[in-house]
Symmetry: C2
Subunit: 433 residues, 2 copies
């Protein structure tokens, strides 16, 4: 019989136990930050109706990447982000939620794009959104950024320091109006700005020239990437309003204790649904990982689902991108995640299994990670090798003498030192091990 393949599908992640413990530890710390910040954790379906997933303005690129399928008469597909499900959920539960509503998500998303290093077809993102009906202070934009920074800081021992770049969609809208661009030009240039990082300055300039065919206009737009908004103060009311909003917001960020923030108008977050301020987090030590988190403000989250206007600010942390990316780069020392077992209990024959099990249960009840080697008739040599391989800090050897005396021979696996202890004293010893 031909054996089936043991590798997961290309672009899908599975980790060895120590690496899994590392990402679990990071997720746990980060979710802890969101919990104390009062976010309600939502666990939404991974499958949505096709009509819910598709027809999102300008998301053609993502649509071709979706996993769509049919069961019976129903067309459906796997979610590609956390926002589409959140929109549906919030619209469906308007009367059951208290606004401003804080939602967090941590779930797998699916994009069937060509697999390449750091691009996954199944990946985790951690989302947080704050939404209200009809209006929402930009203080909440600052709160979201501050909370993201705290989640990233909670794992700074692994990912180092971070910084945040803040952009403005209204600035570009005002600039395009001021430059009197046509609607087609606006759209094309916006796509181009989003691609600028990938294509580089030279190609950007050529494409820009193709679209505008006007050197003065081209230079005005290019000046934003070198001089920011400085060339556009006092040019139009809308430009001034966008610039003032940005400047005020940087002060607000500072009030919220956000560090390493600066304006970068080249940040636009692509063609997504954002309508206000937008932002991206990067890791100082790992520029190759790209954007660690990104988000912004949207004017009407639920318009496809409800006539109630939900305004909000939200962001997603690229969890797998960061942590699986770091693992793949070999830059994480997994030593501390290799060996979670504190005690390996080794019964020297089936007669000592009941006492061994009793000891294991007492240790586990005190939250001490303990396992017994239950093929108890196997030789001491096999059992102690197992204890060594799983990295147990202590081996608790239980032979005939120990069963009679109800004491345990506790062997420190690092020093080789061995002592006889009561069960209570063993618990005490291991509690601090």
């Amino acid at each position: 019989m031909e054996l089936k393949p043991t590798k997961p599908l290309s672009g899908f992640i599975e980790l060895l136990p120590a690496a899994q413990r590392f990402v679990d530890e990071c997720a746990s710390r980060m979710l802890g930050v969101l919990k104390t910040a009062g976010f309600s954790y939502l666990d939404l379906p991974a499958i949505e109706r096709a009509e819910v997933l598709t027809d999102k303005d300008n998301w053609d690129e993502i649509e071709t990447q979706m996993y769509l399928f049919q069961k019976g008469d129903t067309k459906m597909g796997l979610r590609y982000d956390g926002t589409v499900g959140l929109s549906r959920y919030v619209a469906g539960h308007l009367n059951n939620l208290t606004f401003p509503f804080r939602a967090s998500q941590f779930s797998k998303r699916y994009r069937g794009e060509r697999a390449q290093r750091g691009r996954f077809r199944e990946f985790y993102q951690m989302d947080m959104d704050i939404m209200d009906i009809n209006s929402l202070s930009t203080n909440y934009d600052a709160e979201i950024i501050a909370v993201i920074q705290r989640t990233l800081d909670s794992v700074s021992e692994f990912i180092g320091d971070n910084y945040v770049l803040v952009g403005s969609r209204p600035f570009w809208d005002a600039l395009f109006d001021y430059l009197k661009l046509t609607d087609d030009q606006k759209k094309e240039i916006f796509i181009l700005i989003d691609k600028r990082d990938k294509i580089g300055d030279q190609e950007f300039a050529e494409w820009l020239s193709d679209v505008l065919k006007n050197e003065k206009l081209e230079n005005e737009i290019k000046s934003v990437f070198t001089n920011g908004y400085t060339g556009f103060v006092n040019k139009s009311d809308n430009l001034d309003a966008a610039i003032k909003e940005l400047d005020d917001f940087m002060k607000t960020l500072s009030n919220f204790g956000v560090k390493n923030a600066k304006i970068d108008l080249s940040v636009t977050r692509g063609l997504a649904y954002y309508t206000g301020l937008v932002f991206e987090f990067k890791l100082k030590s790992y520029p190759e990982l790209g954007t660690a988190a990104g988000g912004g403000r949207y004017a009407n989250l639920t318009e496809k689902f409800s006539k109630t206007k939900i305004i909000g600010v939200g962001a997603a942390i690229g969890f797998s991108r960061i942590f699986v990316g770091l693992l793949e780069s070999g830059k994480i020392d997994l030593t501390q995640f290799e060996n979670p077992i504190v005690a390996a209990v080794l019964p020297m024959g089936n007669f000592s299994v009941p006492f061994a099990v009793d000891v294991v249960n007492k240790l586990r009840a005190k939250n001490i990670v303990a396992v017994a080697y239950l093929d108890a008739e196997k030789k001491f040599k096999n059992q102690i090798e197992y204890a060594d391989k799983i990295g147990a800090k202590f081996s608790l050897i239980i032979g005939e003498d120990e069963v009679k005396s109800k004491e345990i021979s506790a062997k420190n696996m690092a020093t080789g030192e061995q002592q006889k202890l009561s069960v209570a004293d063993t618990v005490k010893l291991l509690k601090t091990a």
Copy 2:
């Protein structure tokens, strides 16, 4: 524009925040039990190659229920259980794992069956497996049962007490041989035994008669459901061996501290891959939820993937079946999960936002769940209503006086009592709230 539907697809689960907190609390306690029992948590892909999912002996019924689809040239589908991925993973990492290997999983699975109450198309199961190469003591079967009971006991305040029924595949094999059934009869009767619970004694007897057409044989088989193995002692070596294994195992279970265990030979775990002892957990107070957990021993987990023989014992807890089932029955009092917010910080105008944010950050740093109402220009009435709606234990009101004095007006929302406190004293007060 026509609005899109806000309900999730039929058979898919999404919960309001308090219900979600309830299931999260249960999952967290249960996973804690598995962690201290030394299980390595695995997070495997939800999508597998179609060839990995299908062609599992006798699983036709599940195959028609699978979500299968194609992307490019690759046929794939969503996992319907945790075992198929585990088999592939273990076979692919034989040299990177230490045996006996303890694996746990907690993940979504997918079955496109007709949706009905308590039957979900997307649902969580919590798996645990212990595997070794070539041999594994039945002590590990007892360990798995003991660990499942501890996970269920960790949430007994919600689900009440549990009991476990133990069956034996070898008993039925030996009985069929003793009764000299043909291979076709063996298979048909085994399917029938699995269906007995659903179809009832009367229909079972009729079908049995259709297959066997021999009243004496029919009565022998029916006697198992009334008298257990008592009619089959000293009939054949294989029967005696199976009976002795069961009796010995019940003593082992008692050594492992398992309570409420009894032999029930009608438990067979259907047509799955089990080859030895099998078991099912039920909840005493909730018979309508059916089987809370089930599992057993398999002789060769990885045979489709590897020539190395992996023998193991494993089980799955029907997490969504239990907890979403209980929520749907209305039997869970969610009061304690409604209001996780300890402090609502209310800034009386934008000038007090910086101090409010500072207070919020200090509280969160001490793991106190705190949110600020950041539309700070809104009236006191709106803000205190919000604090009331989210069930905040304390409102921390920050007006002009408070900003000047760096003190906080802390209002106990239950008693209405209000006092002025320093930030440090506020933290102290809320730490015990």
